[in-house]
Amino acid sequence: MDWSDLKQHYGNIASVVGLVVSVLGFSFTLYQVRKSRSAAERAQAMAREAIDRVSSRLFFTQITIAVRLVQEVRSFCRAADWHRAIDRCEQLRIVLAGVVDDPKLQGDDQTSVTSAIDDLLLIIRHLEGIGQGKKSPSVPARMIETLDRIVISLTRIDGRLRTAALEV
């Protein structure tokens, strides 16, 4: 074997080794890219889950506050404390207006929250009428029933969402 044959022989071996190294290197790079992408996706999913958990908790808190406010409206009406009753109705409208856009609410839930916001406006007008001496100082049974209905629908929404959260 002369020098040029030897050079060609080792040259070929070096090319093959180079190709193998390149293929291995490229595969390793692809593997690393895929690994880091799936790690990023996992991190993103975990972050999304954490956000969902926090927003669910906030939503449940808002619903609990809303139920408490309805109960306060009822008891202030019973005590003929019209100013406080109006104040709680207004707070309740704000809380409900804050949750009405929540994607956790299904079609019917959203309609019942919107109806509740509207009913509260009618109740506020009645209570203001009492405060101004334009209406007799009593709350019609229909309004109390409406408040009860609001509590029931909010509790139903809360219960359904809690059950759904437990199933996940």
Binding site: L96, V100, Q110, V113, D118, D119, L120, L122, M143
Partner: protein, 120 residues
């Protein structure tokens, strides 16, 4: 222009109520009736002093977007609004179902026992 659109809405609501395509609901007050449509709701009501009919468009956050009634509308549209109020009341109180059940009892010669005053 806004009134024209609302007048058209009144016409459409009237037709949909007559056809039974929409069902109105009772509200917290006796003289107001409501139906949820699109991104909000429509409430029809009677003024407590003037007894004029009004219609309010309310968005899902409870804000009144528009309101017409009484002298805001032409005579023809106002008469239609009054008819719509009557139809909405009948729909919310399920007048047709009640009348149907009464007619069916009458046809069968059946009466229902009412609870005594002591039971109430």
């Amino acid at each position: 222009m806004a009134n024209e659109r609302l007048a058209q809405l009144i016409h459409e609501l009237f037709q949909a109520t007559v056809d039974g395509r929409i069902v109105w609901e009772e509200t917290a007050t006796e003289d107001d009736f409501r139906v949820g449509l699109g991104e909000g709701l429509v409430r029809i009501w009677k003024g407590s002093h003037t007894h004029s009919c009004f219609i309010s468009l309310i968005n899902k956050h409870g804000r009144i977007v528009d309101e017409v009634g009484g002298s805001d509308l032409g005579e023809e549209d106002y008469l239609l609004l009054k008819d719509l109020y009557r139809m909405a009341r009948s729909s919310a109180l399920k007048e047709n179902e009640i009348v149907d059940s009464m007619l069916s009892d009458l046809k069968a010669g059946r009466t229902r026992e009412l609870p005594s005053e002591n039971a109430l």
